[in-house]
Symmetry: C2
Subunit: 495 residues, 2 copies
Amino acid sequence: MAAVRIDSTVMDRLAEITGRDNLDTTHRGRWNAVGGASYLDYVRQRAGDCSGVPDAVIAPARHDEVQAVIEECSRVGVPIVPQGGGTSVVGGLRCDRPHIAISTSRMHAVLDIDDVAGLVRVESGITGPILEAILAPRGLTLGHLPQSWQRASIGGYLATRSAGQASTGYGRSDDMVESLLVATPAGPLSAGHIPSSAAGPDLLQLVIGSEGAFGVITEASLRVRRLPAASRYEAWIFPDFDAGREAFRELAQSRITADVMRLSDAQETATSLLMSAPGGLMGAALTAYLRRRGVTSGEGALTILGWEAVDSDMVKSRRGAAVEVLRRHGAVLLGKRPGESWQRHRFDGPHLRDALMDAGYLVETVETSTTWSNLARLRTAIHHALDHSLTSSVTRPYVMTHISHVYETGASLYTTVIAVADQTDPVGQWTAAKAAVSDAISSGGGTITHHHAIGRDHARWLPDEIGALGVATLNAVKSSLDPAGICNPGVLGLT
Amino acid sequence: MAAVRIDSTVMDRLAEITGRDNLDTTHRGRWNAVGGASYLDYVRQRAGDCSGVPDAVIAPARHDEVQAVIEECSRVGVPIVPQGGGTSVVGGLRCDRPHIAISTSRMHAVLDIDDVAGLVRVESGITGPILEAILAPRGLTLGHLPQSWQRASIGGYLATRSAGQASTGYGRSDDMVESLLVATPAGPLSAGHIPSSAAGPDLLQLVIGSEGAFGVITEASLRVRRLPAASRYEAWIFPDFDAGREAFRELAQSRITADVMRLSDAQETATSLLMSAPGGLMGAALTAYLRRRGVTSGEGALTILGWEAVDSDMVKSRRGAAVEVLRRHGAVLLGKRPGESWQRHRFDGPHLRDALMDAGYLVETVETSTTWSNLARLRTAIHHALDHSLTSSVTRPYVMTHISHVYETGASLYTTVIAVADQTDPVGQWTAAKAAVSDAISSGGGTITHHHAIGRDHARWLPDEIGALGVATLNAVKSSLDPAGICNPGVLGLT
């Protein structure tokens, strides 16, 4: 690992702000703060690749200290990268210039709870599990469950505009935040109107998704809900993906959505059923059962639906309205067991990836959203691009997709690809495939990211999506809030 | 009226873009384009006050012509003011510098309807009634019903971040737009992601509410819904405003809201009942009926609830869940007649104001939103400020308030004030009262506007709400998109 490249007088001044104990320049501390959780991050970590490692990790105790650190770094022109849970999958934390990582690990206080309004103000370093543990005894929940939930910070949710597994019911991170405090080089920026306002452009939605390019989110006021006293998770199977998609569209457009709604294509359905316990779903009895109800083995589309509510009557009435739609589109109930099994194992994906990588596989995901009218076409384009770019003379990739977030006008697509890793150049192999599939998404009417953010990995495709003038607008905001260009340079393609 | 103050060579070039017929410099055309629909606008119009009148009104036929007009005006430094329905109540259209009004009156085409996604792309000059008339035969509706519905344009909705009477059910204008095209001096800006995205800061929400300060909205893609086949409007009365407020909070936080939800305080309730037909609601029989059910005359809080859905079962089940909450908070059903009467007369307010002004009264409204926990306190502060500033030696003002938009974390407050007009200085009288009540709102934890926008009248209070750095951020965006500062100078306090 390279030596610390930042002037010692700067380091001394930073240490004065936070105390020397909270400025870590050890190899271990710096190594732990690099990268993120993408396939390429894992490949690089396994190879001991130190590129992008910060020169130091500073851990301020509160907003004022973050503000002082940023102003000092701006004065001397030293880049900073915010560090929450470290779970970016888009290169949001990998900065090639000498830089300081500002860790929010010491900022995990709940500052205020307003039970009447249902608002909780927190420091940005708090994680989902800790916040939920504090809220639960008061009968409250945030209900935001990204796959990175066990590690990600609230500040990270908001900086990346994340969505969670229950976002169809609880809203995306950008729906559940009412106001933010951001430490920027130009001073503290407070953004957000409670609960709704027509006071000009919405600066809150300008700061959300800014990925540290304008500064570091230090505090957030979040809308919380009453902890559900009743819930029901269950699985159904549709004759095929198209039937399920049409049912999901009707549920969304009739506003009788469940809180969790997932629909797997035939490929993912086959995998899910295969991975169930022996003697489980794939038994001959099940196949016969489904065939009698019009679902042909190999075409069926598994769906997981979860309702949560303050009482079981409400779960029952919401479910009742949905079931009528499900049956009309040919769905067959598989029961609660597979739904509850999904709920139990829903954070296991990353661990499974480790095991597959150990066995020599490339495993990665891509995601997007588009309108209902374009959804089937875009899914096909994504599968083709991955098939084409990852097929070798010997093997073809396994590609599978699900819908996990529905809106009135469209839905997300989340695609997992598994291929035999190119052992000589795993980085080059995925970089080429990623470019191909991103081109397919961008030219196929999808957003380059529905909930993973832009980071550095998607920056190439952002101008296609928001136009040159959109990029110029972001640059104008950045120049105003971060005139020295020190805030996470490179994310969003801004420097 | 002053002569046209803009150079004739500029006028000739503008006429080349749109044709001479679409560049109006007549007194009548210019007079019709000034001002808006606030009390002060009406006072000035009645006095024949020409201040703020445009030097010409140009009516381009489509986006490209608007773009060309704006670029020409930017080149020569002539300010422009977008002109939709002309219903601003915050001085959004009153520009004291020589300027051109860009009317969107010729831009009323529906460009595309996507029935599957539920999206309709329109030119920005289309009004609600015309759009609804085009959508209805296809079984679709936008469902946006601001009080200015009969005249306001879609572009105006979005430029001012408007809310409608059914926004609790259908969403505010900022919820129902998926993308926008804006003609700016720096070029066409296309903003918006369909249907949801994590691709960086949300530029769509930066353009919504920009009130023409960055350019002219020319096209919009809007989310539409299936036309409701069933609806039910009805009135209830709560023992008092606090009981109704708590019921509304529970409905919002349990997510069993009606599509229209209005709750009047005792003052507004008394007025509504008094204004009903003779022998109607205020009869002795009603008073006795209510007293038996615990509602004391003079304290009761009238509520209007409206449900709309694709079938009557859905109306029934949504209403059923709400009724349980209403009754638990002491509400008594008044029946469908007053609900349907409200629905029939809901656009009559402005006409009533004309009659009251003829009779020598000041009539104006102020509006805000705040959290549930702050709502009662803020309502009291608003009433005190208006009482104090409009009480003369002879009379006191009549002040009454309702909630008309509810959110999980809070609600709007909409206050109407009627006072004897100061015939010698009506402008000074309201200007002082408006300042007092705006100070009370701003220091009392409310937003300076929940759905009327900032314009010029609220610009003084915007820095309190978004901070100096927020204003600097808006200025940075404006400098980038409108470097010559020609776009509606003065709105949002930007120049």
